[in-house]
Symmetry: C2
Subunit: 398 residues, 2 copies
């Protein structure tokens, strides 16, 4: 997905190197890009094998390929080693999800302070551009919040990020991205920022129902998520919450697996003495998220419900995007969830290349100019709209 979008902009981004532990995955992506004729102009597109946990190997690859911008869309366990390789080689670093330690679930908030923000000073001292969490959520939804604060509110009381996938993959059960990461989001404490305090809940404890554009009425549940941990620091807002849409079937399967202990990251021993992490076995039996794309139908709706004051009056806006699974697949061989997560880091890379986001320091998305980002996303397949009551317009006409 990311490589597809990079190829569509290779006039600005230049040579493209795709690296993974498994080089055949990279080659498959290159084949798909060539099949779609996605390269905007003739240019280099190469596959590399690298273990991104190996910092020296990653540095060597960055140097060999003369990469100036590294988009890390690998597992969330790799962030710190890839960031280190970027700092040491002077490359710009972009990622789309917070770092995780495979042995820990749901650490102390704010999560960014546990890993990424420990490198704030070093990035600033060395002039390293590091943009954290620039997928859709976190990422685009952070820009929505920044835009609202800068343009549409005098003061904000609450930011509620809503993430609904109203698509259908036709399988009994599947997660839309790596099940290991997906379930880890829901097994620990749900941290939200309420009344300027970190507030703990459990998953599926707090529910809301919204009637959303295009996808209609949806049930959403308070969920722990990356962007709550940076927006709460960077925007002066007393309430920041993240809500994810779930159907009854998803909740039932999740509840069964969790209650049985099958979502545990702690190894168990079988009667035969084999040590196994149950969650890894669950991952092994579930469909590969990438395999869902061809038959995925329906739409996603992700956005920010923002409440506050403007000119002495209460105001409520919904800043959002609707994406279509089948259109995403037709364009990039990816399903909608990969599309919404994969387009934004490429837009960010273009903004770094153009200078708009050449921050020379570590930043979360809400700290960067929102307008060039949203303007670029409009042209890249992820248009933003703003809804206020019955008024529903493209963000730049609002």
């Amino acid at each position: 997905m990311v490589a597809h979008k990079c190829a569509q902009h290779n006039d600005e981004l230049g040579r493209i190197a795709i690296a993974s532990r498994n080089i055949s995955k990279c080659q498959a992506i290159i084949d798909s890009i060539n099949a779609k004729g996605s390269l905007k102009q003739p240019g280099e597109l190469k596959a590399y094998a690298v273990n991104a946990l190996d910092i020296e190997a990653t540095k060597a690859l960055i140097q060999e390929t003369e990469s100036q911008i590294v988009i890390n869309v690998g597992s969330a366990f790799l962030n710190m080693s890839v960031l280190r390789a970027c700092i040491d080689t002077g490359a710009a670093y972009l990622d789309t999800a917070i770092h995780e330690d495979p042995s820990k679930i749901c650490e102390t908030p704010p999560w960014y302070a546990n890993y990424e923000w420990k490198h704030l000073d070093e990035c600033k001292d060395k002039g390293i551009t590091a943009i954290l969490g620039v997928g859709f959520d976190p990422g685009v939804v952070n820009a929505y919040a920044a835009l609202a604060q800068q343009e549409h509110f005098d003061s904000i009381e609450s930011i509620d990020i809503l993430d609904v996938n109203a698509g259908s993959h036709g399988k009994y059960f599947a997660t839309n991205f790596d099940p290991e990461i997906n379930f880890r989001e829901f097994t620990g404490t749900v941290w939200s920022w309420q009344n300027r305090e970190w507030t703990p809940n459990t998953m599926f404890e707090v529910k809301r129902t919204d009637n959303l554009p295009v996808v209609g009425e949806q049930s959403l549940y308070l969920t722990g998520h990356d962007e709550v941990h940076s927006l709460s620091k960077h925007l002066d807002v007393p309430n920041v919450r993240f809500w994810m849409g779930f159907g009854e079937h998803y909740i039932n399967v999740f509840t069964v697996l969790k209650n049985l202990g099958l979502l545990s990251e702690k190894p168990v021993k079988t009667a035969e003495g084999l040590e196994v992490v149950p969650l890894k076995v669950v991952k092994a039996v579930l469909p590969d998220p990438a395999s869902l794309a061809p038959s995925y139908s329906g739409k996603t709706c992700i956005g920010d419900v923002i409440k506050g004051q403007k000119d002495g009056q209460p105001r409520e806006l919904f800043v959002y995007n609707v994406a279509d699974h089948a259109e995403a697949y037709a364009e990039t061989d990816s399903q909608g969830i990969s599309y919404t997560a994969g387009v934004p880091p490429v837009a960010a890379a273009l903004l770094v290349a153009r200078g708009d986001w050449d921050a020379q320091q570590m930043q979360n998305v809400e700290q960067l100019p929102a307008k060039p980002f949203l303007a670029l996303l409009d042209t890249m397949g992820l248009p933003t709209r703003i809804k206020e009551g019955e008024r529903d317009l493209p963000w730049d006409q609002f």
Copy 2:
């Protein structure tokens, strides 16, 4: 459980040897027997370690202990090796469940013909007493069917075996015996004997609701089970079916696990390259069935609904037993399911020792005299009753 009951009858059964792969399990049983003071008279009670798949080691143990009767209540995967050791040493063989090949699920009916009955001629030639499936079901329910045929019917149209555990273990989810065996019963084809033909169904496809003595109204589902595979051969009855009671919660958990592929006995490979059998991981996370005993409450009801003709009139009887989990635990440190399964083979061993069941050949329970078996069970904690309409009496007063 079995050892407890043997100890209570060691005046007739003599020296008792308890063998398992894990000798500490045997020692724990001996400690429990001593704590309860279960030995009827002072006598030998010893623990041995043996891998029952190792035929030579098992033969050596039978010879060393001079065992004349072997009660095999190990995993269903061990039957053929233990039977071989008995045939070679001349010991009587008793088991409580059909042999299973770990790599196969639900083989061609009748199941006994795939393994056990291949040794019919050899047992007869050598005069080996081998009593197959002498637990509760299979086992006692086979005797119920035989009794009904011999005493209460001129012709039988159908035998429906009902197995309800209306007990509560207080856990989110648990199986009452080895989860590996438990789930294997429900993942393959459900074979029943209908209109004198083997009829395939799937699990939870066919439901019935019964109002049963003591436990009340229960939902039961057509299930594949051992006794259907011998009763269909030995009794001239056109319909033999087995039904097991399940609550909605059990069915939901089972359905989720099955649909996800987590009940599969075929290995999957994790992302890290580890080969794992999902079912073994599910077993590892579930409570050990033995651990359920102390807090188990409620009752089981297991019996045969038998329909046919007597003296030219249609007749319907329910021949059944009700057992209590807490009473079983008080007597033998075991829960009700282990109790109902563990007492009958000890009764059978006593009948072999006394000569009533010294068959000198391989037999299923319905081929042996039912009355001495049921009379003995009356005195050992598993009384039989017969219900016809509102009339409900001990079997020997009916």
